[in-house]
């Protein structure tokens, strides 16, 4: 080993504290990228594999009832590849020992066989035997939630009759990766089940002999999707078709796509910010670290070492630190990602989730941090080697110090000697001080962005469940029911208030933009389900025209006053034109609202309702459940507290966990920056501090100079840190809005507090470490040695 290399390893050991702190900064940036990208690839990879291996359909269509005889004709539509009809129906279930109502969605499969499309991945047991009416396969999430195994039984209400079903098997389906009940946002595995039963069984039970009500199909390569859909709609219209749709509108796919989009944004925005920040900090920190080695550079130069040899030496020093930090970041990122993938397994039911850190992410992260470090190193090395060695070895000429304006303003007694030294030193090196402030401010900004995510999600859920959705329970009827049913509900045990609603599936059309959604008809001034304006005030529904969620209006490119075409997908399937009358700001979901009376009129029906919202006395919930169970007309019973808990759990385990990891990373980066600043300041000032101690200053007085400088830099950095935090939060806020949810831009005092206290805490910790060093300073040695 060359002596210069030995020096390298010893220097690395001597600088281990700083090297580790720099490595932490690098690791932070790298970790964000690896974590986000690996999680993203694991999710999307698992999805693609499952879709391909289990033949997930590409187009779906619902009809009221169509004879199987039309299928061969549909098969002839140009572009159609495989086509499979089936029967599907909602049912209510009851599980022994579980009091709450359970919603079920039953799908038919060919008797005793796997379907061609949307094949099942059996986790346990087998398919129902051919000819058996009482056997079913259930979704694995539901089975898991209730501890069900093949052989167990369930009670179901199928078309008003109670039936006992035996579990033949437990399965996953590409169609239900994300198992969420219609109108719900979050999965509730205890209260929602997907079942697969023999075609004949379901057909008999729902009056669908020789018929189907759901069509699934795949397309030939290069097929015109729109043309196929148009042809299907045309062919199915007479059977009560509600319009075919593609995967984009398939609930599970759509949800997963939204989640993947979030992940994609997270995998782009956050690592970009973190990597950029850590690259900048590295650049600064490495530069200053090399500057402290100025004298050594000069000595080596005096011996005849070439610039290239010196550059290699310091490049290696930097390179080792980069490698250490990078490896740490990759390891931590992969570890965190495997944890995240585990959590996602609870929400997205994949048979397997291949977990692999993508090579390009490894290469990209290494390239970014290596470039940033080497840039910082090269600049500093260049500065060090470009000066004649004699000049570099000579103590620098006393720098031109001036009284700073602050000194002129403040009374001398207030500053004291130490204060003056601190102020003049900072004023003397404004660029250096500026970079330190920038570094600390960026760390504070990252912290604030993390804190913002935590706060914003909390605010979003609060708004949705405290102000928008104020009911305790949502009942959905099997079909449109006369509004007088509300009176019956009012007399059920424990019911405090009832408000009814009508929901109709529609396609909204504005220009060439279309959105499949539903119209929700409510009371003119709904109390249990409020619509809020931008300031969170409840609004009255417009007399005429539609009220849309702002996000939905934007995706239709519609403004208040525009005329929207509404294609109703139920009943007489009318096309009507309605003005966009008002906008509503809701954090979760999207919707189109109007008065129920108006909706009934558009449908050409009397006062019909699709469901009701209830306010309930929680002490009498059990009695209410028992009463509702006896009402076969109620297809689904949703509890809001459970929905809220579901969404909170989901956000806690995904977005908030991510945010918490990022806060931890931001804190480590902040610490790394402050620590390096302090250590370098200490190295630069060791001689001066030793001199003061020799002159009779106490350790505390000397410490005050150094700590004063650290404290001043940190305090000065906090306001710009807040400003940076606001910018980062805005960036994130714009990136994170989907039709699933829109995180509001709420910056709470806590977020500002976390940003400030994070960097202050890092400074305090660093201060303690540095003061210990001052105690160990060997005054005479420092004074003897050349700077």
């Amino acid at each position: 080993m060359m002596t210069l290399d030995r020096k390298l390893t010893r220097d690395l050991w001597r600088l281990r504290g700083q090297a580790l702190a720099i490595a932490v900064v690098i690791a932070g940036g790298v970790m964000t990228l690896i974590l986000s990208v690996t999680t993203l690839e694991a999710l999307s990879g698992a999805r693609e594999r499952f879709y391909a291996s289990h033949h997930f359909a590409e187009v779906f269509a619902d009809v009221k009832r169509a004879p199987l005889g039309v299928v061969p004709r549909l098969q002839e539509i140009e572009g159609v590849n495989l086509i499979e009809p089936r029967v599907q129906a909602a049912m209510r279930l009851s599980v022994a020992g579980f009091d709450d109502p359970v919603r079920g969605l039953a799908q038919s499969i060919p008797d005793g066989r796997q379907p061609m499309l949307n094949r099942l991945h059996l986790v346990a047991g087998g398919l129902p035997e051919p000819g058996r009416d009482d056997q079913a396969v259930v979704s694995d999430a539901f089975a898991e939630a209730h501890g069900l195994v093949p052989g167990d039984s369930l009670e179901a209400i199928i078309d008003g009759r109670r039936v006992r079903l035996r579990l033949a098997g437990i399965a996953l389906s590409p169609e239900f990766l994300y198992q969420v009940a219609p109108t719900d946002l979050m999965p509730d595995y205890q209260r929602y089940a997907v079942l697969w039963m023999n075609q004949r069984t379901l057909a008999n039970a729902f009056g669908m002999e020789g018929a189907f009500n759901r069509l699934t199909l795949t397309l030939q390569a290069g097929a015109q999707r729109e043309a196929v859909i148009d042809a299907l709609d045309l062919a199915l219209a007479r059977y009560g078709g509600t319009g075919a749709w593609t995967r984009d509108d398939q609930p599970s796919h759509r949800f997963l796509e939204e989640e993947l989009n979030q992940q994609r944004i997270q995998a782009t925005v956050l690592p970009t910010i973190f990597l950029a920040v850590s690259a900048f900090l590295l650049h600064v920190v490495m530069g200053r670290l090399i500057q402290t080695q100025r004298e050594q550079v000069a000595v080596l130069k005096a011996f005849g070492y070439r610039d290239a040899e010196l550059a290699r030496h310091f490049g290696l020093l930097a390179g080792m630190i980069v490698l250490l930090g990078w490896a740490l970041g990759v390891a931590l990122g992969a570890w965190a990602a495997s944890g995240m993938a585990g959590l996602y397994r609870d929400y997205f039911r994949f048979p397997e989730m291949p977990f692999r850190v993508p090579l390009w992410a490894l290469a990209l992260s290494l390239a970014v941090v290596a470039l940033a470090t080497l840039l910082g190193t090269c600049q500093a090395v260049w500065q060090a080697v470009s000066r004649p060695p004699a000049e570099a070895m000579r103590p620098p000429a006393p720098a031109r110090f001036r009284r700073s304006w602050l000194e002129r303003v403040l009374p001398p007694a207030l500053l004291g000697h130490e204060g003056r030294i601190v102020l003049r030193h900072l004023a003397r090196h404004p660029a250096k001080a500026g970079l330190s402030v920038a570094g600390i401010a960026l760390s504070a900004g990252l912290l604030m962005m993390g804190a913002y995510q935590l706060d914003a999600v909390e605010a979003m859920i609060d708004q949705q469940y405290r102000q928008v959705l104020r009911m305790d329970m949502e009942l959905t009827f099997a079909e449109a029911t006369p509004a007088r049913a509300a009176g019956e509900l009012r007399h059920l045990p424990g019911v405090l208030a009832v408000e009814t609603w009508r929901r109709v599936p529609v396609t909204l059309i504005h220009g060439h933009r279309e959105e499949r959604t539903s119209l929700l008809g409510m009371e003119p001034e709904p109390q249990l389900r409020q619509v809020l304006d931008g300031d969170g005030r409840p609004q009255r529904l417009p007399e005429a025209g539609l009220m849309l969620t702002r996000y939905l209006a934007e995706s239709l490119d519609a403004r208040v006053g525009d005329q929207l075409e509404v294609a109703i997908m139920e009943g007489q399937r009318r096309h009507v034109t309605l003005p966009l009358a008002a906008l509503v700001d809701e954090p979760l979901g999207v919707g189109a609202y109007l008065t129920r009376e108006r909706l009934n009129a558009l449908m050409g029906e009397g006062p019909a309702i699709s469901g009701a919202w209830l306010l309930v006395d929680s002490d009498r919930r059990e009695a209410l459940n028992a009463a509702l169970w006896k009402m076969p007309g109620v297809a689904a019973i949703g509890r809001l507290d459970q929905a809220e808990r579901g969404i909170r759990d989901y956000l806690d385990e995904t977005i908030l966990l991510f945010a918490a990891i990022f806060v931890a990373i931001a804190t480590s980066i902040g610490f790394g920056v402050v620590y390096n600043n302090a250590r370098i300041t200490f190295a630069e000032r060791a001689r001066e501090l030793a001199t003061l101690q020799v002159l009779g200053y106490s350790r505390a007085e000397v410490s005050r100079i150094l700590l004063g400088e650290i404290a001043l830099l940190t305090l000065v950095a906090i306001p710009p840190g807040w400003a940076i935090g606001i910018v980062f939060s805005r960036l994130l806020n714009q990136a994170f809005s989907s039709d699933l949810f829109r995180i509001p831009l709420v910056l709470t005092p806590q977020a500002f507090g976390i940003a400030a206290s994070g960097v202050l805490a890092a400074s305090l910790l660093v201060a303690l470490l540095v003061v210990r060093r001052i105690g160990r300073l060997d005054k005479l040695r420092v004074l003897k040695a050349v700077e």
Binding site: L4, K7, R14, Q296, L300, F303, P388, M393
Partner: protein
């Protein structure tokens, strides 16, 4: 001056100005000087007389703002250092010059042996670090770090480091400045031995008049000019010096 002596380094009309903070400093003005092969030269002068500046320019550590410096190699070929590229100056220092600094400038993370090795590894015809350290009487302390050595020992490591490459020129800037009398004499004895036994041209700058007695020639600098050149008829052995 004797005509039979061979010049090793020639300086003509050297001047150097510095911008020190807000002050412009004339460190050297019009210095003419020749260093002869194998001689031991002492440059005397008060602090600020320009002696360190002169030494640095002669050693290729710094460049003059005016005048010319020429190095004459063993084959008699003259090479101008004035206007030479940084690369050429680096080569000059690497192969021909050894430096000893007042504050030793050892690399604290390397042992005595390694501090010498860091120079022998890039030299053309070096001694082994062990023999260089033996020469300065530190054969027993090879594996000590600078922090484990006394000031005199550190300076001797620095000398071993400077001579280990067997340079043509050994330039010493106040080599005893930070040392007590006894240790200072020890260091000067080492320089004397190297000059005598290897024939290295040695230039020592100091403000200590007594050291001048061990030199072939003594040059006095004042205000950046050569004030006087004195040739000693007899060199006094270092061990006889007293101050």
């Amino acid at each position: 001056m004797h005509d039979d002596r061979v010049a090793a380094l020639e300086a003509r009309g050297l001047s150097r100005t510095y911008q020190m903070g807000e002050v412009t400093l004339q460190a050297l003005s019009g210095v003419d000087l020749t260093l002869y092969r194998g001689e031991l030269l002492v440059m005397l002068g008060a602090s600020g007389s320009g002696k360190s500046t002169l030494l640095n320019i002669l050693g290729g550590l710094d460049t003059a703002t005016g005048g010319e410096v020429c190095y004459v190699d063993r084959s008699g070929q003259r090479r101008s250092l004035t206007g030479a590229s940084q690369r050429a100056l680096t080569r000059f220092r690497r192969h021909h010059v050894g430096f000893v600094f007042q504050f030793y400038n050892l690399i604290s993370s390397l042992t005595a042996r390694e501090n010498v090795a860091i120079v022998t590894e890039i030299a053309r015809n070096p001694m082994t670090p062990e023999s260089a350290l033996a020469m300065v009487g530190l054969g027993e302390r090879l594996d000590h770090f600078p922090s484990q050595l006394s000031g005199g020992e550190q300076q001797r490591v620095a000398i071993a480091r400077a001579v280990a490459k067997q340079p043509d020129l050994l330039l010493c800037d106040e080599p005893t400045g930070a040392l007590d009398f006894r240790t200072g004499i020890r260091v000067l004895e080492v320089l004397e031995t190297i000059n005598r036994e290897i024939g290295t041209t040695v230039a020592i700058i100091t403000h200590n008049e007594v050291i001048g007695e061990m030199a072939d020639r003594v040059i006095r600098l004042r205000d950046g000019r050569v004030d006087e050149i004195h040739v000693n008829a007899i060199r006094r052995p270092a061990r006889e010096l007293r101050w």
